[in-house]
Amino acid sequence: MTKSDNLNDRSNILIVGIGNEFRNDDAVGIYAVRKLKKHTLPGIHTCELHYDLSGLMDMWVQYESVYVIDAVSSGADAGTIHEIELDENRLSEEEFSFSSHTVSLSSIIELSRAIHQFPKSLVIYGIEGKDFSYGCTMSDGVKEAADRLINSLEEKLRTKILQIEGEA
């Protein structure tokens, strides 16, 4: 997806869901972004990434604010929501490395920084998963956490859009 594919660019906000639909809790990022898309907040662009994250660098540099939702495995209770604002912070390689065969989210972030293709604001939401084995069922608490995150993110975005429109 490129920004020009979208009709309404006024919000300059992108939400990215990352995950594998067939690895149980790893699907939570995809689930969240699909639900957000159904709610069709005006001017919010959404995108799903299932495997190769390298396209993120071209994509997110076009936006003022980017929110990424991904499953995470840090040892916390399933359903715990981690919110990480990326300014100078680095992302943990271990927690966000979902595959040994592709470039991890943390590497994409650092590479974007290095080649100056970084969005002005980037927030990562990591939803703690428990079961990353094959399957299409999310663990108890994981889906509910995604729903809580969707509700709070929608509120946040509505406020942000109103602010942007007010400034315009």
């Binding site: 390298s54 396209g55 040994s100 065969h101 592709t102 470039v103 290095a114 080649i115 100056h116 293709q117």
Partner: protein
Amino acid sequence: MKSKSKSVKKKTTKDKKESVKSIHVKQLARVEGEGALHVKMKGDEITDLTFTIFEPPRFFEAFLRGRNFSEVPDITARICGICPIAYQMSATQAIEQAFGIQVNDQIHDLRRLIYCGEWIESHVLHVFMLHAPDFLSYEDAIQMAKDHPEVVKQALRMKKTGNTLMTILGGREIHPVSVRIGGFYSVPPKENLTALLDELKWTRDAAEKTIEWTATLDFPDFERDYEYLALHHPERYAIIEGRLITNKGLDVDISEFEDHFVEMQVEHSHALHSVHRERGSYHVGPLARFVLNYDQLTPAAKQAAQHAGLDTKCKNPFKSIIARSVETLYACEEAIRIIESYEQPEHAYEEVEPRPSTGYGCSEAPRGLLYHKYRIDERGIILNAKIVPPTAQNQKTIEEDLLDYIPERLHLPLDKLTWQCEQAIRNYDPCISCATHFLKLTIDHD
């Protein structure tokens, strides 16, 4: 065949020292999949060296048994996220040969075209992101990007060209879904392909600059007398067609692969080692293809290689980074040629009627020769499958390279020596995920 000896020994001509030194790379970085290297030395003598592939076996050949022939391209594509087209092409070729199907020139060209996309994306990824940091003494591509952002930006744009080509023809860039036995499920209109011409021409020019750049790298002084193996076609730089040839005189039909090469199980690896039945290890990949098929390259690719100092006498595996860059240029030119002459075929595929038979397929994956064989019954059900990926073929060569490479460099600090060993492994762009599709399982009963 099973090799009981897991360790290999190499003694240097230097004075013997009794100190014991070990190199352990527990998790190799910048390779596809999970592997490790263990080297044990006593004085100047290597007492044990294993390039260990511990990624779990994946049993793809067993999955294929009992499945319908039409499922094979989609199942085998899952073996690798980097080179799914290679698996689809070797599989379709083998099954079409079994059923006596000959695809028309347009379908054949489209298959070369989607394969060019895979070569571009895979080669660029390896040259810039995985191998270049070794030569420039960076820990990884991220550290390299901090000092050379424009180089990395260029690489990402080049890679995207290959990915886009695969998406247009394959439906998606990872595990494409449009390839089928007899052709494609659907083929694009000409305008969808011509839309990519400007970017392909930009990538072609970038590939020329890449060749010049790789020629400036500092290459270790290291050569071995390899047996190079590749497909060969008299008119085209072989990607999906040709005979099997080596620089040691082999020239046979692909159906004779197993008459000359055999896979061996070794205790330290989940990947089988493929060797020539009489001469042992051999070398597949971009350098082998360049050496054996130089005459079939485009004039621009030949000229760029000459300027870079790469010739058909090359025995230095570190220069595979130049060969990969030359093939990137070739793949761009070949893609441009195919797109400019493309006419959308009336039918996207040939009708397929199964018959009981055995079929053979070989194509040149980015990392080297990929062999498939299928035995199929009258209903089109797969009775047996055999897949020999390039990394399994290069694995023994990688170990032998290290046996020769390490003794001359024992004076180096351990961290630097370890780094150079990893670099030597990455010469082959090993795809460990591809190589672990099979494990020989033996159960003993009392």
